[in-house]
Symmetry: C2
Subunit: 556 residues, 2 copies
């Protein structure tokens, strides 16, 4: 029923994954004239009405209430409590619900998932405010990052799941001669069997962007899922889970194929879920340290991780210095560099670079970049729209530590800009440090804070060597290159590929340099320590289900 | 070049995997009139000339000679020594060779793999004798099991690898509007990057059947491979590796993308390979115990295992008792039940079964089966062709232990039949034990020996419960059902699917009940403890390579 309803959209999604062109079934912009009248206000009101109340989720296994989220914008508790779930009870409810869910055809499951996605689109405004006040994103990013862009990645995963499942036929007839004894014909049928329950562990800064792909990949392939939001990112997840459960139950399905297990930093439940013997799949987004722990310690589970890397930018030369400075300053400011694709390390020859405005020295480049960033954060309104707020206090501590680092010189100090709407917002403009290449210990890891290192490299070759060695040592999700030298570009492309990293070249405005497009940009290679799973490829879905077969002679 | 040459065969293989019909590019029978004159004799001679000589493999890192294979047919050493390889040297040679190999197009790599497979077919006779005298298989099984049937599974894996790689386009053009700023067009290109080196660990009884799929899946996806034969199964692997290396070097490729590391039971090298940091992929066939150890201890590697299970047969009713007895007695004798698909546990109601010849009691069924097995092993020539030899002394020890088991009564004792050609052959006919259902400890694990348990179940329902619970506890590669009751069949199909096992129903002669056909039968579900990998599905290949991407504005 939902498969028929959504068939053409699903086929378009599959085609988009194959052609990797721009496509989306969702409205990307929150612009008022693209949405029903009052949609934005209603979403905002819904969010506000939720504050200081109990979030109703109507799940089994509720043993109490939990949740202690602080808004990065007010630095006050949201005052919302959520079901505290008994792990055994929800695991067993999830298991039970999965028994029926797996019997629904793959196509219909995909149809239901798309119905959920389209329903979720309708609450994008509500979820945007929830994301703002948990992750700290600015409204526009929260709208797309928990809304259409996240749903696009979800539908992309859904398309791959459908494709992988379609690869297995329902039945076959097989006739083979057996020598003098004659031919044998067997009738064969094949069933797709899900692995069981997936634990979907979400991160604080982008609560939905990896959650939707994991949820849809799991549900489409017949698994059930228990979503574990970050302790400070429960609300957006809870809203989505409630809506998806509603779509399920309104259409006669057991909503318990999707459950949420909320917790607090003080009483975490993650490891309990990860180690539960009835949970064979783990989808994790978060820190590299914990991601590696999971990869190592959940060895007999199917583990998909997206963590973090040490993203580098090589500046070799450019035909468009204004566009470069524009894009890079934007990239350093965007969500205060709390994105997994944010650039951190800027490798540039100490002898400067060739540009369309002639040779520019290292110091000249630094000044251009510093001025551009300064300008972006000078106006509080502009700063607020671009930088948003800082998700956690830890990031401020990192900035404090780094600005006192003796081996680095401060090219631009970070300051807390005054948010025009939220006077108590936790904010920080980018800190730019000027460092010598040899002080690798300063920049050879991700610093989860708005900080960039301008690294004085001996020359462009050293920059390439250093940047790719950092990919090998510390991983990278996005790497960037600015070069107008075709030979260098080709060499860099090879070098990053050899290091297991994708390379975005000469990204200039108006597109944000670190924008990753569903259906087109493969996100995370799995070849370095920034995660083992890619959004989305066949490997992201093909092992979430298995095949059992029945065969019998045709005559019997 | 080889892609063009073999394109139509590769496409046919892909179609066969989709339709899952019978198809093969290889000659399955060793029948003389299907092969060039003298092919059989030449193969036999080549094998005999190899005995008591040094096997030349021309590999790097040779630090001495190793190998101590005993023929199950003569119980004498083959007298062949092989290169003993320094692990660091071969790993670094493999790595180096991989650097060039990965740059060849996926299609061409697939073409070269098929060229190898077709070349390997020409040495099937030679390899059949090598397999006989290491694994203990009878000639006919050795011919197909290390020859066409194994190559078919290899080509099947190759077809899946090609399909998974084709899913990623080489390039894309992506145009997206960015609000008032206008549209951006990016030119994107995608590269497939292999993970690196695969360690392919082979088993003693079927040295090539899992080796070819692993080798071709790895090489096609751009990885290099180091094959580690079982200490008593080196020769068939060495012959194949030598031929494949020859195809590579004759066509201008570095043969070191495929290397062999031989060892002895006393000085094993397996763990050294498995734990080498430069080896990210492991393909393993062998014992369940070691397979589980690998799954647990190689957590950050991509691990594919096929091990062993406790294969059950439920006898509920039949319309063809003769065919059933014929097929089952054949299944118990075939290669002395040393196949991963051999049946072991026969579950039957103590009240007997309905058949086309009326009600047959448990004892009546036992007698029919015992008589049929007796008949098959009465004539040494027939016994030799069917049972072959026992690969290892351990199997004889198992028979000794079980025949003295007080809780079981011997329905048919095992004896060493006299091989007509090899008077010193290590042989054993099937031991059939009559046991009570409650003595589960007797049969709740795989006994790697020609032994079958006739299990007295309370009724057909108990049989189903017991058989599926054994799948859950101990795994199963193949499960069998004989039933003419449609309701029971449907329930059994569901119950086995729920337990994560495939079910072969009413298999009667002339087809061997446990024959698993490439391109049609998915081998190993990955849902129980008999292995985590399936021959072949997309999951068997999709994660062996990853994707890196390059993108750049079109105008730049």
């Amino acid at each position: 029923m939902f498969y028929q309803k959504h068939k053409s959209v699903l086929e378009d999604a599959i085609i988009a994954c194959e052609k990797r062109h721009y496509w989306s079934p969702f409205i990307e912009s929150p612009s008022r004239h693209l949405h029903p009248e009052g949609a934005h206000e209603m979403g905002k009101t819904a969010f506000e009405l939720q504050l200081n109340t109990s979030f109703k989720l109507d799940q089994p296994g509720e043993t109490g209430r939990t949740g202690l989220e602080i808004s990065p914008y007010t630095q006050q508790p949201l005052g919302i409590d959520y079901p505290k779930s008994d792990t055994e009870t929800i695991v067993s409810a999830s298991k039970k619900a999965g028994q029926r869910w797996r019997k629904i055809s793959p196509e219909e499951r995909a149809g239901i998932c798309l119905e959920m996605a389209l329903t979720l689109e309708k609450q994008c405004f509500e979820n945007a405010y929830a994301t703002m006040h948990t992750a700290g994103q600015a409204f526009l990013m929260a709208y797309s990052g928990s809304g259409p862009n996240a749903l696009d990645r979800g539908v992309e995963a859904l398309a791959y799941a459908l494709k992988a499942m379609r690869d297995v036929p329902n039945s076959a007839s097989w006739t083979k001669p057996f020598g003098k004894a004659g031919a044998v014909t067997l009738s064969k049928s094949y069933r797709l069997i899900p692995r069981g329950i997936a634990a979907v562990i979400c991160c604080a800064t982008f609560p939905m962007w990896n959650a939707y792909p994991a949820i849809f990949a799991n549900l489409a392939t017949g698994n059930s899922a228990i979503v574990k939001p970050h302790p400070n990112g429960i609300l957006p997840v809870a809203m989505a889970v409630r809506t998806m459960r509603k779509v399920l139950s309104e259409n006669g399905h057991d909503p318990n194929i999707l459950l949420m297990s909320a917790d607090t930093k003080e009483q975490p439940v993650t490891v309990e879920l990860l180690q539960h013997p009835d949970i064979p799949i783990v989808d994790y987004t978060g820190s590299q340290r914990f991601g590696l722990w999971i990869e190592k310690n959940c060895s007999q589970k199917l583990v998909f991780t997206e963590t973090a890397g040490c993203n580098g930018v090589i500046i070799e030369s450019t035909e468009n210095i204004d566009g470069l400075i524009n894009a890079l300053s934007n990239g350093l400011c965007g969500f205060s560099a709390q994105m997994c694709t944010s650039p951190q390390n800027i490798h540039i020859s100490e002898h400067g670079i060739e540009t369309n405005q002639g040779q520019i020295s290292f110091d000249g480049f630094r000044d251009l970049l510093v001025d551009a960033v300064k300008e972006r954060v000078a106006d509080p309104k502009r700063a607020a729209a671009l930088c948003g707020a800082i998700q956690a206090d830890e990031s401020l501590a990192i900035l404090d530590r780094l600005r006192n680092e003796k081996k680095a010189s401060i090219a631009l100090d970070s300051f807390s800009y005054e948010h025009p709407e939220f006077p108590f917002a936790r904010t920080a403009s980018p800190l730019i440090l000027d460092v010598k290449s040899e002080h690798k210990e300063l920049y050879n890891q991700e610093h989860f804070a708005p900080v960039a290192f301008l690294i004085r490299e001996q020359d462009a070759e050293s920059a390439l060597t250093n940047a790719t060695s950092l990919v090998r040592e510390s991983g990278a999700i996005s790497s960037y290159l600015y070069s107008s030298n075709e030979t260098y570009k080709a060499r860099a492309q090879d070098a990053f590929a050899d290091a297991g990293a994708s390379l975005w070249c000469n990204m200039t405005a108006p597109m944000p340099m670190n924008f990753a497009a569903a259906y087109s940009d493969y996100h995370v290679t799995g070849l370095n320590s920034s995660g083992n799973a890619c959004l989305s490829d066949l490997a992201f879905v093909a092992d979430r289900f298995r095949i059992v077969q029945f065969r019998e002679p045709l005559s019997s």
